[in-house]
């Protein structure tokens, strides 16, 4: 299949099954773009998530740009973003026109009561695989733990975490170079 068509179809499929927000897309991207299609490596997947957390906007668009660009340049990133956005766009357009009360529909709510715990489980998968590929060691193990406490329990915005951890890494590297730290 033409690579541009493949990128579009894959991102359309991924975004159609992304329920409950952007990060829920990551387990699907990991499965299809990393394991099945081998468009990016596991290490690149971790880099991609880190970059997308460092800039504003939906993580779905960031991921589509990164993988599309790596696979087929700017044209690749455009078709991937188009695929990543289309199903959310069409779904809301149809709802805005015809079914404004869909969130009060008992059947829809029942389906989502089944899907939400599945999304939690699926999100745990990239956390575990990223743990292996992000070179976490004894010195850095506190970083993800502190991040979860600050973000999930104290609602700290992700951008402060990214800035602090980037500065921390930079300063540690400089001190290390001067031989002040082991």
């Amino acid at each position: 299949m033409n690579i541009l068509v493949d990128l579009f179809v894959t991102f359309l499929k991924i975004s159609t099954f992304t329920v409950g927000g952007g990060p829920a897309m990551l387990p699907l991207i990991e499965k299809y773009a990393v394991y099945n299609k081998k468009w990016i490596s596991k290490e690149e997947f971790v880099d991609m998530v880190a970059l997308s957390q460092s800039i504003p906007g939906p993580i779905a668009v960031d991921a589509a740009v990164y993988i599309g660009y790596k696979t087929a340049g700017i044209a690749g990133s455009i078709v991937a973003v188009f695929g990543a956005v289309l199903s959310g766009f069409l779904a809301l357009l149809i709802i805005a026109v015809y079914f404004t009360n869909i969130n009060q529909n008992k059947n829809v709510e029942a389906v989502f009561m089944g899907m939400r715990p599945a999304v939690v489980a699926l999100l745990a998968v990239p956390v575990l695989s990223m743990w292996k590929h992000s070179k976490i060691n004894k010195k850095t193990i506190a970083i993800p733990i502190v991040t979860v406490i600050l973000v999930a329990f104290f609602n700290v915005n992700a951008v402060y975490i990214i800035i602090a951890s980037a500065l921390g890494g930079l300063i540690y590297g400089l001190l290390h170079k001067r031989g002040k730290l082991l």
């Binding site: 927000g21 952007g22 880099d47 939906p58 009561m113 715990p117 956390v127 980037a166």
Partner: protein
């Protein structure tokens, strides 16, 4: 200002200042759409948030499409969605190009040595935040455990698992 230009401008601004995912974007959209421009009433915005949770795709895209349609019809929804993704698209494209070029740079590697572990924490936080309200009884805990084992140990297709969980939800909770 022309309403289409205004929708595009407001959503470009939202896209440019929305750090930290859908939950961080919603207050910004609320500020612009409900308070500053009076495009939606507060209860309509609450409905929008609920709808965005039960529809495919990123919450911010859902919100942009909905507000755009309510204010400016079909072309309003197209412009809001394009406006929202435009800054992200340009910034991520530049960052990807620069990152690929300077990946081996010492300072970039030092920064990434701090950012990568934080990223793992951020995705774990997303899992924790999605879990709020997801576990209503022992059956939802069983669904979560079953999906986790199938996906992590047996590498099952996540879309298939989501479809099965949705069908189970329909049978169990209707």
């Amino acid at each position: 200002m022309n309403i289409y230009l205004k929708l595009f401008y407001i959503f470009t601004k939202i896209g440019l200042f929305s750090y930290g995912g859908g939950n961080a974007i919603l207050p910004l959209i609320n500020q612009e759409v409900v308070i500053n421009n009076l495009w939606l009433k507060a209860n309509e915005f609450t409905d929008l948030v609920a709808i965005a949770q039960v529809t495919p795709g990123p919450i911010a895209i859902n919100a942009a499409t909905y507000v755009g349609y309510k204010v400016g019809g079909f072309w309003g929804s197209v412009l809001c969605t394009l406006g929202l993704i435009l800054p992200t698209f340009i910034i991520m494209l530049l960052i990807t190009k620069v990152f690929i070029k300077f990946k081996q740079n010492e300072y970039v590697q030092n920064m990434m040595s701090g950012v990568l572990p934080a990223t793992v924490g951020l995705i774990a936080s997303a899992a924790v935040m999605v879990s709020y309200g997801s576990f209503v009884d022992y059956k939802s805990i069983l669904i979560c455990a079953g999906v986790f084992i199938s996906a992590y140990k047996y590498k099952a297709d996540p879309i298939l698992l989501l479809v099965i969980s949705g069908v189970l939800g329909f049978i169990l909770y209707r």
